[in-house]
Amino acid sequence: MDAVVDNLDAYRQGFLTTLALTVLASALALALGTLLAAIRVSPVPTLRGAGTAYVEIVRNTPLTVVFFFAVFVLPQLDIGLSFFAFAVIAVTVYHAAFFCEAVRSGINAVGVGQAEAARSIGLTFTQSLRLVILPQALRTVVPPLINVMIALTKNTSIAAAFGVVELTAIGTRLANANGDAVIAVLAGVAVCYLVLTLPSGWLAGRLERRVAVAR
């Protein structure tokens, strides 16, 4: 227990890093994912193909491999960034595909009449998507989006192996330094993660029930 109390500052540091990574990557991935979803339903076949290819390739690649590319290949291209920035890129690129699929399922769930009405008053594809379809689609997929965010929060732990000093990295360091209190140290890390994931999970569940009632 002392090992945890003595290192509260390290925990705080790790927690804040994980939180920053989660928030930044979630925002970027949600934006990129929504864009990808729009691309995947667009009238331009080339864009549709590119969007599909992106999603299929990224979804079938382990996040660790994406990290490898970000951390070891990007510097080869003279793109020198901090490990944290590489981690944000890797997590964003990976989860954008999942956000895209969630948003796309929302688009498919919006009633056909909505799209027909939008088209019939003369809105273009971009307008009807932006003003009519997407606002409704995003609202219906809030619970799945939160679930992707929870997965993203947990997946930021991979960054520990790529030079980012976040919660899991702090955990391994402290565990190695305090061989007699390994379980307490790791339990502290677990509590930090649960502080982030459990409330989000409950929120998703509540919202899901509300959506279920509304339909």
Partner: protein, 311 residues
């Protein structure tokens, strides 16, 4: 919306624009790729020496061993987490709070933690309490903890998504909630009817079969044979006009629409339940039985005449 509603078919001008845009886009991507490759080449990333590593036999063996270990860990973890997940799903669905609550907490806990942290927990935490684990088993253990919880929730969602009618139909033909719980031969309300009917007969169709059932039970062996279900075909008195022999594993369709009583049988008092367990009965109704509605028949089973069955 299916995608085609969102836009009209593209005309000739639009098609030209699409082709032009695609060509430009591909050229831009090709240019970026070319720059990237040029930079990598400048750093010597394509030196033959670097890649010759892959042709070495020992490196290839190492890679093959790694692949085999990955597959072994994945298969083991899959099998284990499916089993764990099934148990967790059933546990969380239990009506016993002392079971459902802890199982729910377990699931939420392990679903909410990163896989990497769970692997570390097994790898670093178990040795701390005196159990040595190899890296391989730490990986399998972590994977099982995490995926067991995730699969448990998936299984639970699957069970919950079944129409209520399936459960009601299962209860109606006398199956219990728990597969091993030895249903005896009582459809809902049937127990009260057979026990001398202290309550008014809410299920008239069953009432008149009760006597027949008693005769059948006297004729039937008290304990079922190995496997739980007697192999002997059962004569059934009244099956909605269907008189005949029912065999084990016979396909039976049950419609619970006309179920008169409460959808769930009242919970049995402990002594009563123990009696039933002693008496034996169906022991192997599984989820797949419920899903396929392939319901084994056992001696003395009474099916209310409102339910249709066919062979």
């Amino acid at each position: 919306v299916s995608e085609a509603v969102l836009y009209d078919a593209v005309g000739p001008r639009g098609r030209r624009r699409i082709v032009a845009g695609s060509v430009v886009g591909l050229l831009v991507i090709a240019a970026i790729l070319a720059v990237a490759l040029a930079r990598m080449a400048a750093k010597g990333a394509f030196e033959a020496d670097l890649w010759r590593l892959l042709t070495r036999a020992d490196v290839q063996r190492l890679l093959a061993r790694g692949l085999a270990a990955t597959l072994r860990a994945a298969l083991l973890a899959m099998a284990l987490s499916m089993a764990v997940g099934a148990l967790l799903a059933v546990g969380r669905l239990s009506r016993r709070r002392w079971l459902a609550r802890p199982v729910g907490a377990w699931v939420e806990l392990f679903r909410g933690l990163p896989l990497l942290l769970l692997i570390l927990f097994v790898f670093l935490g178990l040795p701390a309490v005196g159990v040595t684990v190899s890296t391989f088993w730490a990986l399998v253990g972590g994977l099982t903890l995490y995926n067991g919880a995730v699969l448990g929730e998936i299984f639970r969602a699957g069970i919950l998504s079944l129409p209520v009618g399936q459960t009601e139909a299962a209860y109606a033909i006398g199956l219990r909630r728990r597969p091993g719980a030895a249903p005896g031969a009582a459809p809902p309300g049937g127990a009260a009817d057979a026990a001398g009917s202290r309550q008014p007969a809410r299920h008239p169709p069953q009432g008149h079969v009760a006597g027949v059932r008693d005769r059948l039970r006297r004729a039937a062996p008290q304990r079922p044979q190995r496997g739980g279900v007697p192999r002997r075909p059962v004569l059934h008195p009244d099956l909605h006009g269907h008189r005949g022999r029912l065999h084990r594993g016979q396909r039976v369709a049950v419609f619970a629409g006309s179920l008169a009583g409460p959808p769930h049988p009242a919970p049995l008092r402990p002594r009563r339940a123990a009696q039933r367990r002693r008496r034996g009965g169906l022991r192997h109704a599984t989820l797949s039985h419920l899903w396929n509605m392939e319901v084994p028949i056992w001696e003395g089973q009474v099916i209310p005449s409102g339910f249709a069955m066919f062979a």
